[in-house]
């Protein structure tokens, strides 16, 4: 027995659409399809998709780096984490590297303040970050095959 019709759960549909996309985003066509499936207007579904920070309507990198800049992480030096990442990746927050490998995002608290400063890359948590640690992580990911 299901609590409700999964077909009508817009947020679950959006998550699925984004997961299936190679570039971590939801295309306009997909949005239209989801609107149809859920029996909503395009603008309603657009409104939902743009509300939640985990969704993107722009193509993003293979790896989404989300660095926390809320209180505890800020206090423990998250600004220097952003600096190293921007320098290493040669992009600013909100941008994607030209090779389509990395997107850098700023996020609110991730609930891993016991490991501040912290970030997530896709579904993996990285805590107690230092500039050296960041360089090592990036090197590992760069060497990984597509």
């Amino acid at each position: 027995m299901k609590l409700r019709d999964k077909e009508k759960d817009v947020i679950a549909l959006l998550s699925e659409a984004q997961r299936e996309s190679k570039h971590n985003y939801i295309t306009e066509e997909k949005l239209k399809l989801i609107a149809q499936e859920a029996g909503l207007s395009y603008s309603e579904v657009y409104g939902v998709a743009t509300f939640y920070s985990l969704f993107s309507l722009k193509p993003r990198g293979e790896y989404i780096i989300r660095v926390c800049d809320s209180g505890p992480c800020h206090l423990m030096g998250s600004r220097s984490i952003f600096e190293v990442l921007e320098e290493e990746l040669k992009i600013k927050v909100g941008e994607t590297t030209p090779d389509g490998k990395f997107t850098l995002e700023e996020t609110s608290c991730l609930g891993i303040c016991d490991e501040a400063p912290a970030m997530m890359i896709n579904e993996k948590v990285y805590g107690n970050l230092t500039p050296q640690e960041i360089k090592k992580i990036l090197k590992r990911l760069r060497e990984k095959k597509w």
Partner: protein, 429 residues
């Protein structure tokens, strides 16, 4: 795993780190699901509600509303079906106290939800877990499957005739969705905009039906209260705020982590006895209750950290997050960080929230750059006051608390910035 400091009492965190969270057998061996058994076999729904009322348990999500009363209101609502929601959105900065329970003892939450369902006559439950808590989601999913296999969930639970099932809903990255009505809109598949209250969830909640929404930590207290009784529970904490609290300590202390302690422990004790003292520098301030919480200075080190005592001082315990800051911290820089959070997470539905959060950040940023004007300090206070009165939800109503308290202690530091100097050297002027 979340780091746990040496807790003086363990009610909520009892099993965390002790049992394999992916094994229902280990949970049962610790007395797990005995409370569900007792409730279904021996107690009437009213008796369950009365026991929770007698315990004095208050919501641990921040608002401290009496849990038993919330259940009673919902049980008396005419409309059906009724719903139980567990709020596992944990988005308040500095708060990581629900995660150890989600990751370390998911069955305890399930047990609390089943008992809540029985008490108010609900057959459906949702747990709204923030999308970033991947391990929590996976562990909870596994726990649900095990509970179903053992017939603690599903139809005719333990041959009692009572049906209950739980579904996970994943958040998609939004702080304001932790606000109960926004959370309900989010489960309904909409933008997570807070609703105007009243009506309150016990009469009109999820899909406009009577709904109990409780925080993870609140629900984790239910099974122990049922098994050991309201009087036992009242043996912990203060008269007004019984039980324990899981405090999440972060910042400039030697040991960061969660600590479960009797409600009413002091900040000094938490820092010195459990967090190993300050890391290097001298204590400057602590923010208690998350970014929406107040700044406490040295004179507050001995205040009792419970809902009632803090409320009398115009402060809040909120989620129980404690961010400790030493002398190297710049007040203006930290306030800017807090305001950046409010601006980013504001849903934009109401004007005071939308424009107010933007303006507060703008003015504070200009102060941090040495471009502030003398009346800017009054301007932030006034703006935050208007927001407190006119905003739709607590997000817009909150900035006044960190702003007014940080200014109470460190107004001089703001004036220094306006004069063109950052005393700690953090801001580049």
């Amino acid at each position: 795993m979340v780091k746990e400091l040496k807790s003086p009492v363990r009610i909520v965190l009892e099993n965390c780190g002790k049992i394999n969270p992916e094994s229902i057998e280990e949970y049962i061996a610790q007395g797990g699901y005995k409370a569900v058994n007792r409730v279904l076999q021996e107690m009437k729904p009213e008796e369950v509600i009365n026991e929770i009322k007698a315990s004095g348990l208050q919501g641990r999500g921040g608002a401290a509303f009496p849990t038993g009363l919330k259940w009673e209101f919902t049980s008396r609502a005419k409309d059906t079906p009724r719903y139980i929601i567990c709020n596992a959105d944990e988005g308040e900065p500095g708060t990581f106290k629900d995660r150890p329970i989600l990751e370390g003892d998911p069955h305890k939450i399930i047990e609390g939800m089943i008992i809540a369902g029985y008490a108010v006559g609900a057959h459906y439950g949702y747990i709204y877990i923030r999308g970033e808590y991947i391990l929590s989601i996976n562990r909870f999913q596994k726990a649900l499957e095990q509970a179903e296999e053992h017939r603690f969930l599903g139809e005719d639970i333990l041959e009692s005739g009572f049906n209950f099932q739980i579904e996970i809903h994943q958040g998609a990255g939004s702080y304001v969705c932790g606000e109960e009505t926004a959370l309900m809109d989010s489960i309904e598949g909409k933008r997570g905009n807070p609703r105007f209250k009243p009506p309150f969830p016990p009469s009109s909640g999820l899909w406009k039906k009577p709904t109990v929404i409780n925080n993870v930590e609140t629900l984790a207290n239910i099974a122990p209260i049922i098994l050991k009784g309201a009087d036992w529970f009242r043996g912990f904490g203060t008269k007004e705020c019984p039980g324990t609290k899981v405090y999440a300590v972060s910042g400039h202390v030697k040991e960061v982590g969660v600590v479960e302690a009797p409600m009413g422990i002091t900040l000094r004790k938490i820092i010195n006895e459990y967090a190993g003292g300050m890391r290097q520098g001298k204590f400057k301030m602590a923010q208690v209750g998350g970014t929406a919480g107040a700044i406490l200075g040295e004179d507050m080190l001995d205040v009792s950290l419970d809902y009632a005592s803090l409320k009398r001082k115009g402060l809040v315990l909120g989620s129980g997050a404690i961010l400790v800051m030493d002398e190297t911290t710049c007040c203006v820089d930290m306030l800017k960080c807090f305001l950046n959070f409010f601006k980013r997470e504001c849903c934009g539905k109401c004007v005071p929230g939308r424009i107010g959060t933007e303006k507060l950040l703008e003015i504070t940023t200009s102060i941090s750059q040495g471009k502030g004007k003398e009346d800017d300090i009054d301007l932030i206070l006034q703006t935050a006051k208007v927001m407190q009165k006119a905003s739709l939800c607590a997000l817009g109503q909150s900035p006044i608390l960190p702003i007014s308290t940080i200014l109470k202690y460190f107004k001089e530091e703001f004036i220094e910035h306006i004069k063109g100097r950052c005393p700690t050297g953090v801001c580049k002027i």
